[in-house]
């Protein structure tokens, strides 16, 4: 089961909306497409919305953490949003607590977080410095 990955460009950011029940191959396809899109569009930030995901198990959690790591290597920030209380409890008890992944409750707060990182972050400053 492979569906098109909804990746939306919102200003300097990419909005990735994960929905439904995804098998492992689809999750890995999304990983490839997100990293390709960041490279292609030179996005500054990536917002990953998982509020529509039926299940976030250890595999999905591991790939999400991997995406965040790859996006960082590509010079962009990312935020994971939309983890509801049931998924938060489940991930914590499972032992996949996504410790190093930046999260926000809602998409709106996630966007604000990306803006904040952009304005305050050393990453942006370093980019400007290197252009001088």
């Amino acid at each position: 089961m492979h569906e098109a990955v909804p990746i939306l460009r919102v200003g300097p950011d990419l909005l990735v909306t994960l929905q439904g029940d995804l098998d492992d191959l689809t999750v890995e396809a999304i990983e490839r497409e997100v990293t390709a899109e960041v490279t292609r569009t030179h996005a500054h930030g990536v917002l990953i919305d998982v509020s529509g995901l039926a299940v976030v198990d250890s595999f999905v959690a591991r790939v999400l953490a991997r995406i965040v790591g790859m996006v960082r290597l590509l010079g962009a920030d990312s935020t994971l949003v939309g983890i509801g209380p049931a998924v938060a409890i489940t991930l914590t008890e499972l032992g996949a607590s996504l410790d190093h992944v930046p999260t926000a409750l809602t998409a709106e707060q996630g966007m604000a977080m990306l803006r904040h990182l952009r304005s305050a972050g050393t990453r942006t400053l370093m980019r400007h410095d290197s252009n001088r």
Binding site: D23, S58, A86, T90, L94, G95, A96
Partner: protein, 156 residues
Amino acid sequence: MTATVEASYGGTPSGPPGSAVLAPVAAVTIDGEADLLRVRSALRTEAQAAGLGLTATTKLVTAGSELARNILRYADRGHGVVTVQQVTAGHRSGVRAQFTDYGPGIADLDEVMRDGFSSCGSLGIGLPGSRRLVDEFMIESAAGRGTTVIIAQWDR
């Protein structure tokens, strides 16, 4: 002579005394990636029919997803069978699921039930993690004869 290890973890697989199977059994043959979705879907359907809450349902579906993936990754050619059924015990209702494969089996159950153990470089949270998500967890395995895991989740 080959050594076999059989051990059980957690509560009785059939639930509290007097528990009875309710609805017909939903069976999913594990044969490929798409079957992971069928297992999750069967678990969710039965959980909702049994009146489990959102958190109990999410935990059950997630545990089932981990166990079904174990079959896909480790069992002989990734083959196995998952059955899901509603159960009742007194005024409680719940869901019981059985995951069976005829793979290589697990030689040391104590080892794989320990947090952080992994036989293939993944996170190693599969079995102990799944066990924490459900009310009942029973595993039985013999080297060379496959593995059976039975889990159950109750409405409260």
